[in-house]
């Protein structure tokens, strides 16, 4: 099982990378007023047809060939169900996929956020030419991370996957999340 929400983010967004997405949008809402935490991943990957949308929610299905069961999406769905939330999966072939999970923030079983900066950067490093946009929203604040902004500074010579750049991006994202949370109080 996944110990925190960032692990789900990493896992679900990795599906997008494998589905040949070039554009990924990850939106996380952490709202005390609405007593809600939600995670949404939208990609422009190759998408799924109606039959496959049903099958990926079954643990005994996977598109990979290295093993016969796939647990990423079933785990994510179970998370919503366990935490009094909802699960949505929409997809269109050759257009992309949107997956959404919400949880009751104050629910006993809602996991901690985990290292979100790490998750976002690791997803980006799976294919650094991808465009990744990450939004983090609280009741009063919002932070956006956009891979294009970083690339504009780095230029062509230095990759985001170089250790010092990766570590900086992780810390930067986590720090901005922290700021969003602190200003709220």
């Amino acid at each position: 099982m996944m110990q925190n929400l960032s692990m789900h983010v990493l896992d679900i967004a990795s599906n997008s990378v494998r589905a040949e997405a070039t554009d990924l949008h990850i939106i996380m809402i952490n709202s005390t007023c609405k007593d809600l935490i939600s995670i949404e991943v939208i990609d422009n990957g190759k998408g799924m047809d109606e039959e496959m949308i049903q099958r990926v929610q079954d643990p005994f299905f996977t598109s990979r060939t290295t093993r016969r069961i796939g647990l990423g999406i079933p785990f994510f769905k179970e998370l919503a169900e366990a935490c009094n939330g909802s699960f949505e999966l929409e997809s269109q072939v050759n257009v992309g996929t949107r997956i959404y999970v919400s949880m009751q923030k104050s629910h006993w079983d809602t996991p901690p956020l985990g290292d979100l900066g790490d998750a976002v950067v690791l997803v980006w490093c799976q294919k650094e030419t991808n465009h990744i946009h990450f939004d983090y929203k609280t009741d009063a604040n919002q932070f956006s991370f956009d891979s294009d902004e970083i690339k504009a500074i780095l230029g062509d010579e230095v990759s985001v996957c170089e250790a010092e750049i990766m570590m900086w991006c992780k810390d930067y994202i986590n720090q901005q999340i922290q700021v969003c949370e602190e200003e709220q109080v």
């Binding site: 290295t66 990423g72 690791l122 799976q126 500074i153 780095l154 010579e157 230095v158």
Partner: protein, 121 residues
Amino acid sequence: MKSLADLQALREQAKKRLEMREGDADYRIVVGMATCGIAAGARPVLNTLVEEVAKHGYSCTVTQTGCIGMCTLEPIVEVYDKAGQKTTYVLMDPDKAVRMLESHIRDGKILDECTIASVRK
């Protein structure tokens, strides 16, 4: 407080380090990062590898891959040398990752106690 301006300075630092590394790296390290790997703790292993490689300037690259197919042995780390020879390390943790780097990447000696051969007899 980090600002995007800091990133510019880091870019120069990374550039210098890359210039010092002549040609291709000697080794390629691949970490399995599918659902099974993530759940088993591959993330701290990957992060340790990236940080240690940068710190000591080891001649290798660290990348991610999906499921390698032996989920019960995750976290799995594969090391490829320049000839394409693969060594598979299994049931890894951050401590073993550090020892593997020192032994295999720095000294060129396979860390036998952590390879797949050590669990599959």
